[in-house]
């Protein structure tokens, strides 16, 4: 059983916990802080972050990056991927890491193209 051998270090060694329980609470605090930052940004919507980067607001990029950070800690510490063998780890993470961005990329590019076609007036849709 994999009860022993929890890796108790997060943030690449910056923070080391004494026990697995402590690590769980530590991760909870971290996730709560990230969520609070997200919600605060969502309510304030600072003017500086409203600029556009790669067709999306900088604020939205920040939200997506913070979401991926949260997803990483949920998977790594709550789902114990950190403690799994690298073979299992890779066979879970790599398919998702390759397929999801790929699907998002092709569909969003296509959607942007359809938007342009409709916007430049070849198709009447707003009647």
């Amino acid at each position: 059983m994999a009860s022993e051998g929890h890796k108790l270090v997060i943030f690449r060694g910056l923070l080391k916990f004494k026990s697995n329980q402590q690590k769980i609470w530590g991760v909870l605090i971290f996730l709560s802080i990230v969520t609070t930052i997200e919600v605060a940004l969502g309510i304030i919507k600072p003017e500086i972050l409203m600029g556009s980067f790669l067709k999306m607001k900088i604020l939205n990029w920040i939200f997506i990056i913070l979401t991926i950070v949260k997803a990483y800690y949920i998977a790594w510490d709550f789902m114990h991927i950190r403690d799994e063998k690298s073979g299992l780890k890779n066979s879970i993470v790599l398919p998702l890491l390759i397929l999801i961005p790929y699907l998002a990329f092709i569909l969003l590019i296509e959607a942007d193209y359809i938007f342009d076609v409709m916007d430049s007036g070849f198709v009447v849709w707003n009647f």
């Binding site: 009860s3 969520t35 969502g42 997803a71 709550f78 799994e84 398919p95 569909l107 959607a111 707003n126």
Partner: protein, 326 residues
Amino acid sequence: MEVTANAAAENEEVWGGGNKPLNASYGKMMMWFFIVSDALTFTGFLVSYGFSRFKNINSWPIADEVFTHFPFLHGIDAPMYYVALMTFILIFSSVTMVLAVDAGHHMQKSKVTFYMLLTIIGGAIFVGSQAWEWKNFIKGEYGALETRGGQILQFVDSSTGKRAAIQEFAIGVQTDRTTHESSNGIWYTAENSLPTVSLDEVKKGFLADENLVIRTQELDEKGQKTVLSRAESKGKLNEAVGVVEGANLIHNEYGNRLFADFFFFITGFHGFHVLSGVVINIIVFFNVILGTYEKRGHYEMVEKVGLYWHFVDLVWVFVFTFFYLV
């Protein structure tokens, strides 16, 4: 991996059966198979949501204006606070789940029981909150008119800049209307419930109040909805063909109807996952109380249901971002 002279022979022993080459039992492995495939299912949903959104990028509803309710705070504009609370509840129930798994590793039955109970309660609160969100979304708030092409026309009071509810400014018009009944028709379909106000009443109320203007679905350069002038609004009013109150799969007072479709579908699918997670958690909870896992000698079942529970939390993190934040 270490390369030794007899690596081939050792590999055969490891992968030859009766062994756990990846240090994960059969059941846990299958749970991971399920999670990876389910993650791809949710990916499909969320990406198709993104597709529809990018396709209608200049007319998509603004989430802050749609989800503004908080329990017991009637009429107060509180965007996002409630979903933020829901997110915290789900993350917290995730934590109690890991604590249950951890206690299971140490064979502490009473602790596992306690943490499983907390997890179940957290999950139940979350599902209830989602039902409440749905109720508010379906009921709607201000009402709107719909044009023939499915565009939504909302109303704004230009003196205050606040949204105006059609139920409040509409003026009653006397019309004769008979309900079609099955007794006087061969081709009979039952009537849907009618909006509380009719199109003519909204039009009359709009013309009577000089302050009212129409807000269209289109976003301006600042990312806000375009508000028309009074003269433009009067012209636009003639394009309306029906009254919309609230949202369903066909009409949506908040804007693009695809928004409502995806909201119902994705949060519904996620909510169904949470619900089934709660049911499985309850089953495991009773098994813990009955001592099934104590007899079995390990609490791996708690670990497996825990993986599923964290996955549901993981999906919510993304749903939260793409529906409420972005």
